[in-house]
Amino acid sequence: MTERILENLADERGNREGDGCLLDIVLKQVSKRYTGRHLDAVKELDLEIRQGSFVALLGPSGCGKSTLLNLLGGIDRPTEGVIEVGGLSLQSMGDDQLTEFRLKKLGFIFQFFNLLPTFTLEENVRLPLEIAGHDRAFVDSEVTELLDKIGLGERRGYLPAQLSGGEMQRTAVARAIVHKPAIVLADEPTGNLDSENGEKVLALLSEIHAESGITIIMATHSNEAAACAERSIRMRDGRIVSDERNA
């Protein structure tokens, strides 16, 4: 028990007060080619993303945004090159270590929400903490606090099918950050929402970023969405064509 509290403390300190280089992301000559394809979806990419930054990935459909996010999350493995997070190479990790890495350090948000249909809103949000093995009281307080903050407290008992698209995506955001990950990867989080709901989600992401200093990497088609970020990276045919700081 005490062991875990210590561990949690260490985790939180690492996440929040990290001295910047702790979970920096570094890509060196990364290429990804899907089997059966003859073009690289991502080609010889060099990229560095500092801990705590908010990055938008832009570019036309098929340019490789999702592929890049999957590579960063250890969901897919690059065909060539090295991806390091916090100085650790993702390639060197086995399946179990990658699972552990995702569990502790990453949060994911998808265009199609990917909520578990048999779990209520609250249960979806609790899941990452429960998988990590936190005790009930801790999970209760963390989740209640978060849901109240996001304004979903009243809907906590609903199943995903009973929620609106905006509510579903905000639930997905809550699930992605509830365990206080170091990095959140968001693949077109507003792509399936109307502009009003889209803005709500973006505002939520900005707020979280401002408060906690989580690294957020968000693929998007919309320039408005990209405007929330600190840095915009444009891609085309698997390559980076521009990389600029936002005003």
């Binding site: 399946d95 995702r102 578990l116 249960e123 093995g133």
Partner: protein
């Protein structure tokens, strides 16, 4: 502490991820659990029935033997001369005690018409008390009389077993009428035994009397059927050796326990075949589980991917899916235990007849609930369910987190696998073909069943390739007939080849089981009818009344033959005598027949194809014919010589030919009657075949036989028609269990159709939504689902019937042959197959109705909403 939290966490995940899904898809959950329940309950019921039968036998042997650790029994016939006892006095010097007994079955008349076979046990009072415990219930006080056996000294006094006494309300002084051979015999109740000790032997359905009264009742003067010996334990082997060397070869000296192991050996084929049949029900249940789990995993791939992204390891996922299967297995098996116990009594009644008729005469009243068998059935249910879920669980564990990022649940890309699967299928077929040629293992057709199993797996693996070829063909045929929806249905099945294959395979296997059993039983029945028509050529058949009541050794005395022959209208009388003997440690039947008459009047069929006349004329002296079962069971053929124990000693008998026979599976050796009489010292006659003179009616001759002979003798005379009917009655009773399994396989087959359809329509909801969105009306969607159901049913039937044919060949030519040694002529019950086809097509389409309603109710917006 941490482990406990983890456990709770896993439990809560299981509840939310698995249980809620099961509840949501409750129809499929119920169907799946029903499948397991059916399998387990059948397996359990058969197990309990078999176990009860064998343990009753064991128990009775123990109770009759009492403390005896050695027995002298006849190797042939039912008794031996008690004069051999005079030579045994040295046993006492060696510290052993011994006592003779007689046991045989007699028939007790109950009421006017009814009769009931019971066991008569005659003991030597002075010696026997040392062997077994007797307890007589005292009618006056609750105390037990220590001089419990005193009753047997009363004139014609017998002690009555408790079950018999309570059933017929017998008490001291009551008279009991017994039918023995063709006589009647009246005895008097001199006490009622409690259900302890010997009184509980034969399920409490026995009479105990003094040895001399027993000899009188059974008309076996100077004969005993067993000598029980209590030897000092360290001297058993020594005594056994010495006894063997001193006693005639027509008796054996063995520990009582060898009788139990002998009966176990004899009944093994019957027992294991029942198990194997019940196992088929489990197997189909396994395919149901496989189907359900595979489809669940395919459907939930994106969710599984999401769980992986959220931090569950593939091992966690594996255990999650296996836990689901174990839950199904546990719930299904528990229900199965419950139902199994409920139907076990029925199963016992169904198999008791066969056990009693073929192997031993014991009353089998009610099932004993053996905890071990309950446990085995439960574990088998859970174990097989888990095994069946392993492929799906591995599949689930291999879902990569990347799949969460894809919106649609994707169909398992089976295209790549159709070829390798087909190759695996042919390996299975090869194995199947090869193992069908292998001989039985310890009289059990292990390889025959293995062959059937591999054949089933082969079909399952070949299914994707078959459907890939066949679906487009059907599409082309249906399109002009039924329009667009039919083409959509066929192409939708084709796109989800993995799921369709599992569904069709499951259905085919259910149907194949149904068809193969039907062909096997049908062929067997036809064969028996044919055999009866050819072989039973006499006009009338006569046997003692007690024999008809269930007493096996009932005989007429020899003078009946001439009296019968003297009745007006009788052309010839063919007597038949039989008695049991031991051959190679197993029971068989030795028969004595008048081959001069067989040659002239009868018509036996021989394996060699030689004519009856030719073979029958050659049977005299030390030559014999054996039945097909005997030949197969002991691996002997025409031209071989076998050593058969007679009362006069071991005789080498030359086998002239092997004849077809379906009376029992222990087998017959038949010698000429003169030889039999001389060497078995047995003049009695078990039955007569009576040939009526030309111009006489069998029925009127029967009347005459009754009026002339029934004064001195009690007997039953049947016409050939009546006898054939009786044979079929017995046949149907013997196969009652198989008929029941037959019915169950229909239910399982229908369950698998419904299961598959539910899964498929559940899967295609999104597609239906899109179609509706595009403009296909609800009616069209209904039609599409019903067509899918029909197509699945059709292919299930076609492949099922084909597989059923192959399995029936295995059943008839390998499994049955090796187990029982009967040649069965393959006949196809076309009407039954046509009927099955119609029923399955009907239920397939009918079971598509609910899914069709669900599908057509799918609203377009559901397509857009992914969750």
């Amino acid at each position: 502490m941490r482990e406990f939290d983890h456990f709770l966490g896993a439990l809560s995940l299981f509840r939310k991820f698995v249980l809620r899904d099961c509840l949501h898809n409750y129809v499929r959950t119920v169907i799946t659990i029903c499948g397991i329940t059916l399998g387990v309950s059948v397996f359990l019921a058969i197990g309990l029935a078999n176990k009860t039968a064998l343990s009753s036998f064991h128990d009775t042997v123990d109770r009759v033997a009492g403390k005896a650790n050695l027995e002298i029994r006849p190797l042939t016939g039912r008794s031996f001369d008690q004069s051999i006892l005079t030579g045994l006095t040295w046993l006492e010097m060696a510290g052993a005690v011994y006592t003779p007994i007689i046991t045989d079955d007699v028939v007790m008349s109950v009421g006017d018409d009814k009769s009931e076979p019971i066991q008569l046990l005659a003991v030597d009072y002075f010696a026997d008390d040392a062997f077994k415990g007797y307890e007589v219930a005292d009618s006056d006080s609750s105390g037990e009389s220590p001089t419990s056996l005193n009753g047997v000294f009363k004139h014609l006094g017998v002690l009555v077993g408790h079950a018999l006494a309570s059933e017929h309300k017998l008490s001291e002084g009551d008279k009991i009428e017994l039918a023995v051979d063709d006589r009647r015999f009246e005895v008097q109740v001199s006490g009622v035994l409690t259900d302890k000790g010997t009184g509980a032997a034969y399920g409490g359905r026995l009479l105990i009397c003094d040895l001399s009264l027993g000899q009188e009742i059974l008309d076996l003067p100077g004969q005993v059927s067993q000598v029980e010996i209590i030897s000092p334990p360290q001297k058993i082997e020594l005594l056994q050796e010495k006894l063997k060397s001193e006693l005639p070869v027509s008796v054996t000296v063995e520990p009582a326990s060898t009788r139990t192991s002998q009966i176990e050996k004899m009944t093994r084929s019957f027992e294991y075949n029942l198990y194997a049949l019940s196992f088929i029900a489990l197997l189909v249940g396994m395919f149901l589980i496989y189907n359900t789990m595979a489809i669940t995993v395919i459907r939930r791939r994106p969710e599984l991917g999401t769980l992986r992204i959220l931090g569950l390891s593939s091992r966690n996922i594996l255990s999650l899916i296996l836990a689901e299967a174990i839950l199904f297995g546990a719930v299904g098996s528990l229900l199965g235990l419950f139902c199994g116990v409920l139907i076990a009594d029925w199963a016992l009644q169904a198999v008791a007849m066969t056990y009693q008729r073929l192997y031993f005469s014991l009353p089998l009243d009610s099932v004993r609930l053996e905890p071990v068998i309950l446990l085995v059935a439960f574990l088998t249910g859970v174990g097989l369910t888990t095994v069946a879920a392993v492929p799906a669980a591995l599949e689930a564990a291999a879902v990569s987190p990347a799949e969460a990022t894809r919106k649609m649940s994707i169909e398992l890309n089976i295209d790549r696998w159709t070829l390798p699967f087909a190759m695996v299928a042919f390996v299975f077929f090869g194995l199947s073909a090869y193992s069908s040629t292998l001989p039985a293992l310890a009289n059990f057709p292990f390889f025959g069943y293995f062959s059937a199993l591999t054949c089933v797996f082969g079909v399952a693996f070949l299914m994707p390739a078959l459907l890939k070829r066949m679906l487009p063909v059907l599409g082309r045929i249906l399109y002009p007939l039924m329009g667009l929806e039919s083409r959509l249905a066929v192409s939708s099945l084709g796109r989800t080849l993995g799921r369709s294959s599992v569904a069709v395979a499951t259905l085919s296997i259910g149907i194949a089981m149904l068809i193969s059993l039907a062909i096997m039983i049908g062929s067997f029945r036809e064969t028996v009818i044919d055999w009866a028509r050819q072989t039973l050529v006499a006009d009338l058949w006569m046997r003692p009344a007690s024999s008809d009541g269930g007493s096996k050794n009932a005989r007429f005395s020899a003078h009946m033959e001439s009296r019968l022959a003297a009745v007006t209208g009788v052309e010839a009388v063919e007597p038949w005598t039989e008695s049991d003997f031991e051959y190679a440690g197993m029971k068989a039947t030795l028969g004595g027949a008048r081959f001069d008459l067989v040659e002239k009047y009868s018509n036996l069929n021989y394996l060699s194809g030689r004519s009856n006349r030719e073979v029958a004329s050659s049977i005299r002296g030390k030559s014999c014919i054996v039945s097909e079962s005997f030949s197969i069971k002991h691996g002997v053929q025409a031209g071989d010589t076998i050593e058969v124990p007679f009362k006069t000693g071991l005789m080498p008998l030359y086998i002239q030919d092997v004849y077809y026979d379906y009376v029992n599976d222990t087998g017959f050796v038949v010698v000429n009657r003169d030889f039999y009489r001389k060497n078995m010292k047995d003049d009695g006659i078990n039955s007569f075949a009576i040939f009526v003179k030309k111009g006489y009616e069998p029925v009127s001759v029967r009347k005459r036989i009754f009026s002339e002979l029934s004064g001195q003798s009690r007997f039953v005379v049947r016409t050939t028609g009546e006898l054939r009917e009786r044979i079929l009655e017995i046949f149907d009773q013997t196969f009652a269990v198989t008929y029941a399994l037959h019915a169950i396989s229909i239910v399982v087959a229908i369950l698998s159709v419904m299961n598959a359809l539910f899964a498929l329509t559940e899967e295609s909801r999104r597609e239906f939504g899109i179609l509706k969105y595009i403009g296909l009306p609800a009616k069209g969607i209904k039609k599409m689902v019903l067509t899918e159901a029909g197509v699945l049913g059709l292919y299930g039937c076609v492949f099922g019937i084909m597989l059923g044919f192959v399995l029936s060949l295995l059943l008839i030519y390998v499994i049955n042959k090796q187990s029982f040694g009967w040649t069965i002529r393959f006949t196809v019950p076309f009407d039954f197959i046509a009927q099955t086809f119609v029923i399955i097509m009907f239920t397939s389409i009918a079971s598509g109705l609910i899914p069709a309603r669900l599908a057509s109710a799918t609203q377009a917006p559901e397509v857009v909403r992914s969750e």
